[in-house]
Symmetry: C2
Subunit: 237 residues, 2 copies
């Protein structure tokens, strides 16, 4: 793997730094972070001048980050994002990165909670722009990080994630909002439901909004969920 | 354990027959079942004349079953039900069983799906009527069936189960109703949610209604769930 610059050291950026730095030459930049054990913190210009740049910033800030790194990127740089949706951030990258930049959208389907015990067996989706060959990155993710790698396109990804992630986060958020007292005896299905809710309970509101609002297919899924719930409720009355 | 008569050989009655018959003298009656490998099928009068009688019938039919077994019960018989709610069936048993009958409400927190790999570690709640000592039954369930035994009262049980079971079944039913396509890549929290839904997807509509309609605390929980869901939805718009 060529040298990599990581932009953003929030919850996911830190997780990435921890798992990437043992395997490759990594520096990172975050205006709010001066020093970190897992990775050397450098200027934006230095991090953005590497042949591979990873944008670990919220989907809402991708366009701005692209404008900031654009002047520093080497010719033909490969730029990756890690946002939970893919249509919007990839369009933003195309709009704001120099022509000739190779764009590889990625969605790691895990976070600090679900990867607390390691990355092995976790999934990541790669959405390469037409003409970008993801083979080298895919091999690294598979062989060195033991990830389960899926290649997809941005629309298929967002459609799939509307069912998977928008639904999970919606249900989990509602369950967390209910703030139920600890039960002295439970069923196995309740335990599973609670585990699911707890896994995403620590996720930021920003991530929740990104998943629900920046996925163009999430609104329809939410509507179907509420329609099914209302129908069920009426059947019970 | 004294001889036991089991009334009802639906999904749960069959599960009970399979796990009880190796440990005790068991006969069963179900008007719809003439023969079964796991247990001897006998007349209602014969099954109901045993010192311990288990009613494995839907909560809606408990009163009727009590009226049917009443003439055959021996003096001081111990009658158990296995319904998912406890206030209503225990009141029905008290109303329709002869004075002197000892009543022990039970709620096995598992079913054919969740106990597919065995009973070990599964939970059961016992709600004895005042004056009924559940120790002998509790010891049997704990030592011979390896169940996790909880002693409670009917109101505490129903209150707890409104959060645990009414919520789980509501969410699971909605997810099952959505009939989502199989996803090529998923998150761990989605997998847990789907497992929870699949565990109760096979449960009968009768059980779902019993859990939601015959638990006096379930309506309030459902209302809170829909209120939280609506609030979340509005926040996203």
């Amino acid at each position: 793997m060529p040298p990599v610059g990581l932009i953003g050291l929030g919850a996911f950026g830190r997780l990435a730094a921890t798992h990437l730095s043992p395997h490759l030459d990594l520096v990172a930049h975050d205006p709010a972070v001066a020093e970190l054990d897992s990775v050397a913190c450098v200027s934006l210009a230095e991090a953005a001048s590497r042949p591979v740049v990873i944008l670990a910033v919220p989907v809402q800030l991708i366009a701005e980050a692209c404008q900031q790194i654009a002047p520093h990127l080497p010719e033909g740089a490969l730029v990756l994002d890690v946002a939970s949706v893919k249509l919007k951030p990839m369009a933003a990258m195309r709009a704001h990165l120099p022509a000739g930049t190779r764009i590889l959208g990625t969605h790691p389907l895990f976070g600090p909670q679900s990867a607390a015990d390691g990355l092995g067996g976790q999934s990541i989706v790669l959405c390469p722009e037409p003409g970008v060959d993801p083979a080298c990155i895919a091999d690294f993710l598979r062989d060195d990080l033991r990830l389960d790698v899926h290649i997809s396109d941005a629309d298929t990804h967002d459609r799939t994630m509307a069912s998977v992630q928008a639904l999970t986060h919606l249900v989990s958020k509602v369950i967390t909002d209910l703030d139920l007292p600890a039960a002295p005896y439970t069923t196995r299905s309740y335990d599973l439901l609670k585990q699911a809710a707890d896994l995403v309970a620590g996720d930021s509101d920003e991530l929740f909004r990104a998943i629900e609002r920046h996925n163009p297919h999430a609104g329809e899924l939410r509507e179907r969920f509420f329609r099914a719930a209302r129908a069920l409720d009426e059947r019970l009355e």
